[in-house]
Amino acid sequence: MTELLVGTKKGLFVLEGEPGDGFEVTARAFAGEPVEYALRDPRSGRILAATSSPWYGPKVFATDDPGGEWQQAEGVELPEGGDKALEKLWILRLGEADGQVFAGGDPGVLFESRDGGATFELNQALWEHPTRPKWHPGGGGLCLHTIETWPGEPDRLAIAISAAGVWLSDDGGRSWRKGNEGLRPRYLPEDTPEDEVGLCVHRMRRHPRQPHRIFMQFHGGVYRSDDAGESWQDIAPGLPSDFGFPLAIDPADPDSAFVIPLVADMDRVTPDGRVRVYDTRDAGASWTPRGDGLPQPHAYLTILREAFERKGEGDALELYFGSTSGAVFGSGDAGASWFDAALNLPPVYSVSAS
């Protein structure tokens, strides 16, 4: 059985089912409030959710039962008495160390928990980074949306901020350095200095079995890094557009990646009225459209950066993504064919699968 945790503009929806047998909504939580992201921690069995109430501010909650009581995590806040407030949470990510959970948010901040998400602390090195005054928000704010761990090595982290680029750490977040070599932002002048940090990364995924390899969907560009995020090469040729938000990988194959192109930054819908996932099986040398079962024609959907997730790997790879039109689509055969998991949810912000 597969469980999908679907964060939406109007609450968290729990879907359960299996490819081929259909999915059904089994619980809803935080009714009426935006749920940016939720995940189930397999170490504890608990579900963690990042919410951004327009009235009461961003919070992290945890529960054993999504239909029951949720406990608010402590410490998800900026230093009291400062001149900034936490605007929004974007992502939760499990760390490699026992009980380690990360949360990323706006304004470009990282929180870390060592107790499974009960309490968090602000990452001070990133908060006080000397380049921070040069960081500029993208359209969605100064969002820290990607936190990629290194299997078996808790100290090695890669994060991405829109629009402040890629940041790497080899010491568990006590220091951070840029990882932007090779990224080419078309939205900046050609003579922009090399040390510009205003780079709008949309999503990164590290390959768990070949951790030096990371795939990236950029704001106009799809890239691959073979040196753990130090430098990047363009792998977008072959796609109908190099603009999009989410990206998924197949743990069984370091040469595989999946993207969902949108027309362009000025027209953020699926191209040609057809919803299609593109996959590469040769590290980006070529791309193949996968749309069997997905909406077309006249299907102009937007899929956000957290709204594409996988479960399993290889021939058993399951893929799931949700749209801002409230649909969730799934594939039980690595993208070869697709089915509807839900069609009438609120706008989907995120999908996680377990």
């Binding site: 009235w55 501010g57 806040e77 230093p79 009291e80 008495g81 400062g82 900034k84 407030a85 936490l86």
Partner: protein, 86 residues
């Protein structure tokens, strides 16, 4: 003492109690006193800067008020979510 009046979910966080008699010369002081008395409310009405959240409305004796609005003994201070969303 003025009386701060809460509705859900703030009421639940404040000991499942709607009305709270608190000391303070302004709305902001009353809200800070509420947080001290009920730490679970911390961060829900005032953000880290100590600023009232954008979509929270406060009324003193039925009149729309701001964080700096003065309050007197016996005043009723209603804390309500704003009409917002979409």
């Amino acid at each position: 003492m003025a009386t701060v009046c809460l509705r859900q979910p703030l009421k639940r966080l404040a000991g499942d109690q709607a009305d709270h008699d608190l000391a303070g010369a302004t709305v902001g002081e009353l809200l800070a006193a509420l947080e001290r008395a009920h730490p679970a409310v911390d961060g829900w009405i005032l953000d880290e800067r100590g600023v009232m959240r954008r979509h929270i409305n406060v009324f003193v004796n039925g009149e729309r008020a701001a964080q700096e609005t003065a309050v007197a003994a016996g005043d009723r201070v209603d804390v309500l979510p704003a009409i917002s969303g979409g």
